[in-house]
């Protein structure tokens, strides 16, 4: 099917959500999982791995291929906090608000991130560089408070460290080097 067919009239067609995507990339995912029972969640995980989020067009494609109603897929997506229906930043910053991090000052780190990025939890910066999110324990409690940026864990983070950490990722995005970290 073509990308145009995938445009729907519900609220998911808000600005930026229905960008053209290369649906062909999903074929390998379908080939791998189609025959397996309980394939929907792994397929959604890999879809998000490819596009960084779950585009509306992908939901339609998954629905057709796995023969599951789009409503059920939407229900599954919105149930699990890992899935996102909106494009996310290049770097997903997740501040751990688990118990150990919380008692060691994670709230202050979150406040600093909010103010320096100018976004709230769940939002993405205008330059599509950072998405701010919170997590419930990454199992690195011995190093609390921690924040996870993509798959890197930063430990013993103080609110005064935030500027330096953000700068290192901005540098990384520009010249591929994580200076100052």
């Amino acid at each position: 099917m073509s990308n145009n067919d995938s445009k729907c009239n519900c609220s998911c067609s808000d600005a930026g959500l229905n960008v053209d995507i290369e649906l062909e990339k999903l074929n390998a995912v379908f080939d791998k999982w189609e025959a397996q029972p309980g394939a929907l969640i792994p397929v959604l995980q890999e879809t998000q791995g490819i596009y960084g989020y779950i585009p509306a067009a992908a939901i339609t494609a998954i629905s057709e291929r796995l023969k599951e109603p789009a409503s059920k897929i939407y229900g599954v997506i919105t149930f699990y906090s890992f899935f996102s229906l909106k494009p996310r930043g290049k770097y997903l910053i997740r501040v751990c608000l688990g118990t150990a991090c919380y008692v060691r000052g994670a709230e202050e780190v979150l406040t600093a991130l909010r103010s320096q990025l100018g976004v709230n939890v769940g939002e993405t910066t205008d330059d599509l560089l950072f998405t701010l999110d919170v997590g419930r324990c990454f199992g690195a409690c011995g190093l609390a408070p921690v924040i996870m940026i993509n798959e890197d864990i930063h430990q013993w983070v103080k609110s005064s460290d935030v500027e330096k950490i953000l700068k290192s990722y901005r540098n990384l995005a520009v010249n591929g080097m994580k200076g100052g970290n």
Binding site: A100, F138, G142, L143
Partner: protein, 620 residues
């Protein structure tokens, strides 16, 4: 070493023995070893750079032929990572940096001299060897025995340490019933929290009729403050694979799933590697060890829903649905995954199985208390000198874990409470510091053993805020299917928020307790049934703090924002950092003069407090 065994299937018990002997006698195994912890904690602290630096240093000195650097799973003391253990004499080095590699090789390996600056030190003494360091000396490592000694990425290391011999024993010399009897006799209880006898659970599933049965491993370790399962999967994944295979043989099933949270990428990677290696060696798949026994394993990843740690929700999630729990009965042992008889245990439970089979039920039952056998792993974190992973016999006093193993509370502060069992658990106050950590004793105190998260709090934690924190957590994670959990936790949270804002009334305490009991009795699954525990336990043990919040509008720990004031003291030198950091412009003052906070404008975000380099800002 892996290439020795990975190119040939292990088709019989003799093959397994030959593989073990071949590995033990090979040249690589005879090398002197330097163990570098590559658990998640130490990697975050930079242990991979330490490993590379050691490997390079040995190469540059042409010593790679005689000395090997071994990457191991979590050794435990995450707080002082990266940690290194010298195989030669068991010397324990902590806070090791890549730059230290030269000293370790030059001084320790060549010069046989201890690198003094990397030795573990307390206020009174220095400790050189692993066995002497109080953190290790006071533990009893059974499940974690391999962590720190073998490379979790190599099946050869696991086989050399006796791995898969328990699986071999059950499938070649025991029946499923005998296996279940042995596990039952050991007294092993589920380590996921509830403590249900494992042997009994298995026997239910064995007796259930049906050709297709499933065995599941719950690695959706969602309790904040818990990282036991993560460390087992990262440090000794084959022990979990072997435990699952033994369970599968016992109940008569061919297929298993491990449900791991997506927050644990390294655990997933190492487990996947372990499963692939076991398949290649013929220890998973068809005709295992040349017998008729067939079993295979698949990993399914979670997607960030705490409720999926509940068994029926977890199964719904594997089936590709929203992870919502369903009423029991029918219990999973009768109708579980895809309505087939299913056994579900926690990672730590499976990891106990191989040694129970190898060393026998009486050996296992000799550790622990009358009613709770074996050891329990705790994730020690929070206000503690040495946070990390510890394993002790069930029934060990809390005090011993906090002071003898964890080194006590840092910064000269005092112990206030330990939160055990996460959002389903409770707090243990100073008066009960001697409590023995076993299932029954903890229940009497209004706490639970839980999966093993143990968060220590000092006087800077507010117990009302802690209760609010956990309730916010369960409220957020409540799946919304049943009303008592969805609405009850919401209402309770509103009351707690009010109390923390200084708007509470004394009658709120009774209302909270009544609602807590209703939510507990009426909720569908474990999440709702235990959601009230942190509230009930803090009201029970710290009632005076609630009363202070309500009557005196005071938070003694200076945590609840509405009840605190920030003030700049005479220590202020007028550097202006706080003024620049204040997001609402509530701080005024000119250069080199003492600054002042406008308390009307102040939003109590605390940025100035953490920015000040002179400790000039206080909160009270």
């Amino acid at each position: 070493m892996d290439d020795i065994i990975l190119n040939k299937r292990i088709n019989s018990p003799e093959d397994l023995n030959i593989a073990k002997e071949t590995i033990l006698s090979c040249k690589e195994n005879k090398k002197e070893k330097i163990f570098v912890c590559t658990g998640g904690g130490c990697i975050a602290s930079g242990s991979l750079k330490v490993r590379d630096a050691l490997v390079n240093e040995l190469k540059n000195r042409n010593m790679s032929d005689t000395i090997a650097v071994i990457e191991t799973g979590c050794l435990g003391p995450c707080a002082v990572g990266p940690v290194v253990v010298m195989g030669r004499d068991d010397t324990f080095y902590q806070n090791v940096k890549a730059d230290d590699a030269a000293s370790i090789v030059h001084d320790h390996i060549i010069g046989n001299k201890i690198v003094d600056r990397l030795i573990h030190e307390t206020a009174d003494a220095k400790y050189q060897k692993v066995g002497e360091v109080p953190f290790f000396k006071n533990q009893k490592k059974l499940v974690l025995n391999n962590c720190g000694k073998i490379n979790p990425n190599k099946i050869s290391d696991y086989i050399a340490a006796g791995g898969y011999s328990a699986l071999c024993k059950v499938i070649t010399s025991m029946t499923g019933d005998q296996t279940i009897t042995e596990v039952g006799a050991s007294g092993l209880r589920g380590r996921g929290g509830a403590g249900f006898p494992t042997g009994t659970k298995w026997s239910f599933a064995r007796k259930s009729e049906g050709d297709v049965k499933y065995i599941l491993c719950n690695a959706d370790e969602g309790d904040p403050g818990a990282f036991m399962d993560r460390s087992i999967l990262e440090g000794d994944p084959h022990s979990v694979v072997e435990g699952l295979a033994i369970g599968a043989f016992a109940i008569g099933c061919k297929k298993g799933f491990v449900y791991v949270r997506a927050e644990y990428p390294l655990a997933v990677e190492r487990l996947q590697n372990a499963i692939s290696q076991a398949r290649t060696c013929g220890l998973l798949g068809k005709n295992i060890l040349g017998t008729q026994f067939e079993f295979d394993l698949e990993i399914r990843m979670g997607s960030g829903a705490f409720v999926c740690g509940e068994e029926t929700a977890l199964m719904a999630s594997i089936e590709g649905k929203r992870g919502e729990p369903r009423p029991r009965p029918p219990f999973p042992a009768q109708k579980g995954l895809w309505d087939k008889p299913t056994v579900l245990n926690n990672v730590e439970t499976y990891s106990n199985i191989p040694q129970i089979i190898n060393k026998g039920a009486p050996w296992f039952a000799s550790v622990g208390t009358t009613k709770s056998k074996g050891t329990k792993i705790f994730a020690l974190a929070g206000a503690i000198e040495l946070s990390g992973l510890v394993e002790v016999p069930v029934g060990t006093p809390l005090k011993k874990i906090i002071y003898d193993i964890g080194g006590g509370i840092p910064d000269g502060k005092k112990y206030k409470a330990a939160q055990i069992g996460g959002p389903s658990g409770g707090c243990i106050p100073t008066a009960h510091l001697d409590v023995a950590l076993d299932y029954e004793t903890l229940n009497e105190l209004g706490a639970i053993m839980g999966s093993g998260g143990l968060i220590v709090m000092d006087e800077s934690s507010c117990m009302v805020d802690v209760a609010r924190f956990f309730l916010e957590f369960v409220q957020d994670e409540s799946c919304g299917k049943c009303v008592p959990c969805r609405e009850g936790t919401h209402q309770m949270l509103e009351i707690l928020n009010r109390i923390c804002e200084g708007k509470g009334e004394m009658s709120d305490l009774d209302t909270l307790q009544k609602m807590a009991v209703t939510v507990k009795n009426a909720s569908l699954c474990g999440l709702g049934q235990t959601a009230s525990n942190p509230v009930l336990s803090t009201i029970r043990h710290f009632r005076e703090e609630y009363e202070e919040h309500i009557q005196d509008k005071k938070c003694r720990a200076a945590v609840c924002k509405s009840l605190i004031v920030f003030e700049i003291t005479d220590k202020c030198i007028g550097c202006g950092l706080c003024r620049k950091s204040c997001p609402v412009g509530a701080i005024i003052g000119s250069s080199k003069t003492k600054h002042i906070i406008n308390t009307e404008m102040c939003t109590r975000c605390g940025l100035c407090y953490s920015t000040c380099k002179f400790d000039a800002i206080i909160k009270h």
